[in-house]
């Protein structure tokens, strides 16, 4: 038994026939063909599937597609605009905050909400703020740095150097 639903993702409407049990992440990836949102676990622990629903970060493996009707869904594919990259994308690139790239979309979507609520987070607030998103490659140092850089960028402050610092 399927149900016809319409999901609004990055401003565009996607109408699809889904089983009521289908997870939102599968609807996004397979029915809407937006494969930038990833799946890294089956216990809602890793955060690779993090998206924004009405501006709030959410793990799209914890929500059914049918529950997301009528909501504004934002995924990584919607971040860049005709004017260029979103500051968080720039921040991740310039500060080498990604290696394999698998956790990156979820990590950036989470960071966007974090900075929305707390434009000037401390390092500790950033670390706790992204603790629902696992990264196996980077050791998190540069993700923290990237979020700090993005915070400066979004507020029009002087931008920190993006050269690596060594002891």
């Amino acid at each position: 038994m399927t149900k016809k639903i319409t999901l609004k993702i990055n401003g565009a409407e996607h109408t699809m026939e889904v089983e009521p049990r289908m997870l939102l992440v599968h609807a996004i990836r397979e029915n809407a063909s937006l494969t930038g949102t990833h799946i890294g676990c089956d216990t809602s622990s890793c955060g690779a599937c993090t998206i924004l629903i009405d501006g709030k970060s959410a793990k799209s493996c914890t929500i059914l597609a049918v529950q997301a009707q009528g909501k504004e869904i934002a995924t990584v594919e919607g971040l860049a605009t005709a004017e260029g990259l979103h500051p968080i994308q720039e921040g991740f690139h310039l500060n080498h905050a990604l290696h394999c790239g698998f956790c990156t979309p979820g990590m950036m979507m989470r960071a966007i909400e974090l900075l929305e609520k707390n434009p000037n987070p401390t390092e500790e607030e950033i670390r706790w703020g992204i603790s629902g998103n696992l990264c196996r490659c980077t050791g998190y140092n540069n993700i923290v740095t990237a979020i700090q850089w993005t915070s400066a960028k979004m507020q029009g402050k002087e931008l920190p150097s993006t050269e690596p610092k060594f002891v």
Binding site: C41, H93, C103, R136
Partner: protein, 792 residues
Amino acid sequence: MIKCKTSKAIGGMGHSKKRKEDARFIQGKGNYVDDVKLPGMLYMDIVRSPYAYAKIKNIDATAALAIPGVVAVVTGKDLEKYGLHWMPTLMSDTQMVLPTDTVMYQAQEVAAVIATSRYLARDGKEAVMVDYEPMDPVMDPFKALDEDAPVLRSDQEGKTDNHIWHWEVGDKEKTADVFNNADVVVKQQMHIPRIHVASIETCGCVASYDKVDNHLTMYMTTQAPHAIRTVIALVAGHVGLTEEKIRVISPDIGGGFGGKVPVYPGYVIAIAVSFLTGAPIKWIEDRSENLQADSFARDYHITAEMAGTKDGKIQATRFKVLADHGYTDASANPSKFPTGLFSIGTGSYDYGAAYMEADAVYTNKPPGGVAYRCSFRVTEAVHAIERMTDMFAKKVGKDPAQLRMENFIKKEDFPWASPTGWSYDSGDYHAGLQKAMDAIGYHDLRKEQIEMRAQGKFLGIGISTFTEVVGAGPSQDFDILGIKMFDSAEIRVHPTGKAIARFGTKSQGQGHETTYAQIIAEELGIPMEHIQIEEGDTDTAPYGLGTYASRSTPTAGAAAAMAARKLRDKAKKIAAHLLEVSEQDLEWEPGKFFVKGAPEKAKTIQEIVFAAYTNHPEGMEGGFEATHYYDPPNLTFPSGAYICVVEVDAETCDIKVRRFVAIDDCGNIINPMIVQGQVHGGLTQGIAPAMYEELIYDKAGNILNGTFMDYLVPTAVESPSWETGHTVTPAPHHPIGAKGVGESPTVGAPPAIVNAIVDAVAHLGIKHLEIPVTPFKLFKELQKVGYFKKAT
């Protein structure tokens, strides 16, 4: 500061160029295996055993097949008809693809369900009814060798026990002699626990067999696409799938760390089903399957001993290992090295007597023995030598930094012949440790430690000064299933001076699209932005053995430099022709040849390349392409000096890493930003086994933490803010003097952390702590030495 020979515009070695691969990843345009969608594709899910050891009495697929959309259920008996129910492992053992009668570990593949959607495949899996007759599993590797232990591998003719192999290296008698006459001997039993790489992308594939062309395209999560193509041809050649008809595509890989080297049953079943149905088959395992069934790492039980003089000179070491390989030896090691490169375990110290032996056993645990971001068992070896060095320092009453300084191999003594047969290429261990000590303020910390102890607070300082061995490897010793472990690069420069280069390796996040371009830019002077790098497609890339064991830069990186040098030689001939001078009159600076003494008479590399297509000298082959297969003359020996500072809560036993300084020496640095990124990541994968991760099984063979809810991958909160730096001691035999770095921190960090925690509580009588050192484990150890009795 790293000195650069090229301008920033060319972007050769030493420039912190931003990564070329980032653009697609930050915009959600990566192409990972689960993003591959083919017309008519079916989905596969796998029924797995709830028991660690059981007879299969019956598999009833009736209910599953009755579900609309379920297309087929495949069992071992089905594969047996085609001789595909067993496969070889990389260590020349054998592994079931699907069982015909017995399951050997919990979560083992039992049957595969094929359906028209992911969800229906899962429904089918739930509906397959399997009757098992459970048996008592062998879970303790020590008991596996008991005379009354059941012989697990009854499939092996004449097998009478669970012993797999015995290995040894070094001089047993000489070492025993030194131990018998030594002033001081320290001895410790330690377990390097079973852990899991847990890359954030799990494993999977899309197998697409075209019946008309008899051609298989295999999209899969593999770190070694060419080797896998050969393995598929060897396993499936008898059904007509030969190597020229197999294309393995390794698209973007979401982390590997060694876990994507082996061939898992799921891949083989997907190929078999696609071969039989003609439909593309997608198999993507979920996280729990990944943790519970895919290759583990480590699981070495080590008895380590060190002998030395009473004034602190190390004289000998002796390690005895019991390796728990699970149900089959499916390690990913070079074929002649059953314990990988464990024999690096004499470390960074100058002494002449060592003996190591290992025995491997079968148990009812999942098979494996992969790296976890380490060069073939180096982590186990480094943990043993670095723990023993600290214990020895404690026993002779010397500061562990001072004792290391006094025992290091000296800079001028390289190349250095180790007592276990290695020829260390280069190093400057004193400089590395001194730099780390200066950066962290070592002597002030020792004073602070005393002050804090007086207040009942525990501060610990731990050191690890390790030597890695990477870049496998020289073809006289290193092969996988007979295939020599060289690697390759092919460079094609187009008429307008822009290039594409292809490699036999495969990045899983290491940044090859940037660093390989920088190596070629260094050698040819073509801006790195103009050099496109491709890997991971066996139809287009030259043959190579893939990316693991920090081998890409030492092997394929060298191949890139050598191929580029062939092109530079050709460029010189063309430049001489264009400038109407002899080759001897020309000099090179990055990007152009000019006439000695007349720098205005010059030809840029772009002009030269254009001439190679439009106006090449008579008698010269046209075009501008080169290929090189690089067979390294030696391995490379990166090193590091790490210092960790921990604070231990005297009441809760909570452990906090206050600071961690890592000084790495990976030889010449291609891209400092990427090297630093690799070190950061490796350090977090070092704290993981030191304090958090371990796959735990109960006596009945059940895994107790087989999901991300309870297998503790560090988050940004557990991971400290790392401080890193470097010394540079080039590899003398390597074309660009580089050594490889991606794994050093994972290898070097755990003993630094454990040494720090032990140091924090050493005055209470703690001599050793087993990893992962959790607060509860520390609490129990402190209870044993009576600390809490005193406190209450």
